[in-house]
């Protein structure tokens, strides 16, 4: 697996069609590539470059800026433990250390069996539910070290498969814009005033309403 599959090319083409400029689809397409392979392969990035008409270097330039894009294989489950201020105050570091002991790895690493990657991350917007973590971007709120222990056992045994898809799968629901409902892309070079704005003048001409 490397280049996008024909099915994914079809999805990519539809995503590109929503934007006034193909390059705007770059981040969604990189997510699609990561969904396919679990991480971003060089071949997939080159394929994405072809699809939107930019160079592979430009794709890499964007991909390398963003935390979520992994350019080497990661575990089937990526565990992001928040240790930012609200979580720090409520035991986020202790949670991280408990997971390091449980998995036998330091944050930033992957277990030898390729099952888990552990990361020490910045705020994930669950501050009132601290300490919190995400597994493949699915939230677990107010997690104690012993609950984290059970969570790892559950994940290893496949008991969370419905709740937590494998790494790379983000939104399991895709936006669909029905052809007959589509208003159309607003191209920057099309300077037409939207029809409904004329109502402002009509209202003024009619002496206001």
């Amino acid at each position: 697996m490397a280049r996008l599959t024909p099915d994914n090319v079809a999805i990519a083409t539809e995503i590109i069609s929503r934007y006034p400029r193909p390059r705007s689809a770059l981040i969604p397409l990189l997510h699609l590539a990561q969904e396919q392979d679990g991480y971003l392969t060089e071949e997939a990035m080159e394929h994405v470059a072809e699809l939107i008409g930019i160079t592979p270097a430009e794709v890499l330039g964007t991909a390398s800026f963003y935390e979520m894009f992994k350019r080497e294989p990661v575990g089937e489950y990526v565990i992001n433990v928040c240790t930012n201020i609200s979580c720090l105050l409520m035991g986020g570091e202790e949670l991280l250390h408990a997971l390091e002991r449980k998995l036998g790895i330091k944050a930033g690493n992957t277990t030898a069996d390729g099952k888990f990657t552990l990361e020490d991350v910045e705020c994930i917007a669950a501050c009132t539910e601290a300490p919190c973590l995400q597994v493949n971007y699915r939230y677990f709120h107010r997690v104690s070290p012993s609950e984290a222990d059970v969570l790892i056992d559950d994940l290893r045994a496949g008991r969370k498969a419905d709740e937590v898809p494998r790494h790379g799968v983000l939104s399991r629901i895709r936006q669909r814009i029905p052809e007959d409902r589509r208003a159309g892309v607003a191209l920057p070079e099309d300077g037409t005033e939207p029809a409904w704005l004329a109502r402002n003048e009509q209202s003024a001409d009619g002496g206001g309403s």
Binding site: L89, M90, C123, T128
Partner: protein
């Protein structure tokens, strides 16, 4: 306070509040119908102006005024929804997107109608998978029901709303960085001027960037009138607002309260909100508006949650994120953790921020590791002074965006108030604990004073 309406959080307690069915059963999309079938776009904009709705993302700029900055006669205009919530302590846009996505979508459509936006992009933070799923489903259902897309409610109003999502970068919450990211680039802020989004935004076209909570208020404002919204609150801070109260309180949570009138004490101690500090401990400090905000203390508890009052006291309400620290909190460690965030999230475009935040982080780390020197304390302030001259409030900028100056807030706050704790880490030295009405003193640190001797 039970007579205060829940303007944006009314469906949070419903198990199926995120579905189109329940949304419509509870009055959903009726404000949009009213707007597009009975009001002109200008009349809708007038209601939003009358509401004096301050942007809820952090900067607190009035939304109606922001809309008015689009130059006349230049089309197409775009609406970009900022759902990239990532300011530490902030947790409200994610709830709005997960539990009431249709309310946001209705707000987006109302805004598009009022400003004449031909296409909208709903940018959701990458890490928020459930929010992306809920919004994708809501958009699909609303398209099927004829509420988005071509000829909405059978009128001449047509607009597509495209769900877009990020990939992990705090800086993308800054509006010009958000636009860069939406164009497929690294999320680095643009220089203003000339790149004010209202004039030169997405694809160099007029673009309005509004926050999720800001837009979620619009259905209520159209349905009830801007005056009804403005009847709540006080001074510049009208309507209601969401505040996330986290940290050492007995009942952490996200609460919709009357803006401008509710006080910090209400929010931290009232049984219906924070319900006091855990284990009856004393309050040490609290962050009133997200990690970028200077810290507040006991003497600030009586302040109302009002943008002007909080600004005059030397901090900001920012993104509505209140982080409470009790007396057991290690101020040095707390400051380090917040600064590490800014060091990691600096995009690297401007030197004072790229270099300054990482030096601050390294020195704080060294202090925590027991290898600090007493002169490090003033050295930290000196670096802060280089990032944001005079360490004033509001902060002066040497950088394109406010990220760098934001890193100054936690350090200056912690040192000005808890300097003795820093010296304790560094092995002795004098103890000075300045106490003033300001969050921290706005006097400049002497350039290279003590730090120069190290």
């Amino acid at each position: 306070m039970s007579d205060i309406p829940r303007i944006v959080s009314s469906r949070w307690d419903l198990d199926d509040g995120y579905t189109l069915k329940r949304y419509r059963e509870t009055g959903g999309y009726e404000a949009l119908r009213t707007a597009v079938t009975t009001m002109t776009p200008d009349e809708v904009a007038e209601q939003v102006k009358a509401a004096s709705l301050l942007g809820r993302g952090g900067a607190g700029f009035p939304a109606g005024v922001k809309w008015g900055f689009c130059p006349p006669g230049v089309f197409p205009r775009y609406l970009v929804v900022n759902g990239d919530e990532s300011e530490p302590g902030t947790y409200k846009d994610r709830i709005l997107m997960e539990r009431d996505p249709h309310q946001l979508i209705e707000g987006v459509l109302i805004a598009c109608y009022a400003i004449g936006a031909s296409q909208a992009f709903l940018y959701v933070r990458g890490e928020m998978a459930l929010a992306q799923e809920r919004i994708a489903q809501a958009l699909n259902d609303a398209y099927e029901a004829g509420l988005i897309g071509k000829r909405i409610f059978g009128t001449d109003f047509s607009v597509d709303v495209v769900l877009h999502w990020g990939a992990g970068a705090y800086i993308v919450g800054e509006e010009t960085a958000l636009i860069e990211s939406l164009e497929g680039n690294r999320g680095m802020p643009r220089l203003k001027p000339p790149y004010f989004p209202a004039a030169k935004g997405l694809y160099m076209q007029p673009t309005v960037v509004n926050n999720v909570e800001t837009l979620s208020n619009l259905p209520w404002i159209v349905a009830n009138g801007g005056a009804a919204f403005a009847a709540l609150g006080a001074e510049r801070s009208l309507g209601t607002r969401l505040f996330a109260v986290s940290g050492h309180v007995n009942n952490p949570g996200v609460f919709e309260v009357e803006f401008g009138k509710t006080t910090f004490r209400d929010l931290l101690y009232s049984p219906e909100y924070g319900n006091g500090i855990r284990a009856d401990r004393k309050l040490k400090a609290f962050i009133p508006g997200g990690a970028s905000a200077p810290w507040f203390y006991e003497e600030h508890l009586s302040l109302p949650l009002e943008a002007g009052a909080v600004g005059a006291a030397g901090s900001m309400l920012g993104s509505g994120a209140i982080v409470v620290m009790d007396e057991t909190t290690d101020a040095v460690k707390a400051a380090w953790r917040v600064v590490r965030f800014f060091a990691r999230e600096s995009c690297g475009k401007c030197t004072p921020c790229r270099e300054g935040t990482s030096w601050l982080e390294k020195i704080l780390r060294r202090i925590l590791d027991g290898r600090g020197r007493p002169s490090d304390v003033d050295k930290l302030l000196d670096i802060c002074d280089n990032i944001s001259p005079q360490i004033a409030w509001p902060p002066k900028q040497t950088t394109i965006c406010p990220l760098g100056p934001s890193a100054v807030s936690p350090i200056a706050s912690a040192i000005m108030r808890f300097r003795d704790e820093f010296y304790a880490y560094c092995g002795g030295g004098e103890v000075t604990v300045p106490v003033s009405g300001k969050a921290y003193l706005s006097t400049p640190s002497a350039p290279d004073a003590v730090g120069a001797s190290s």
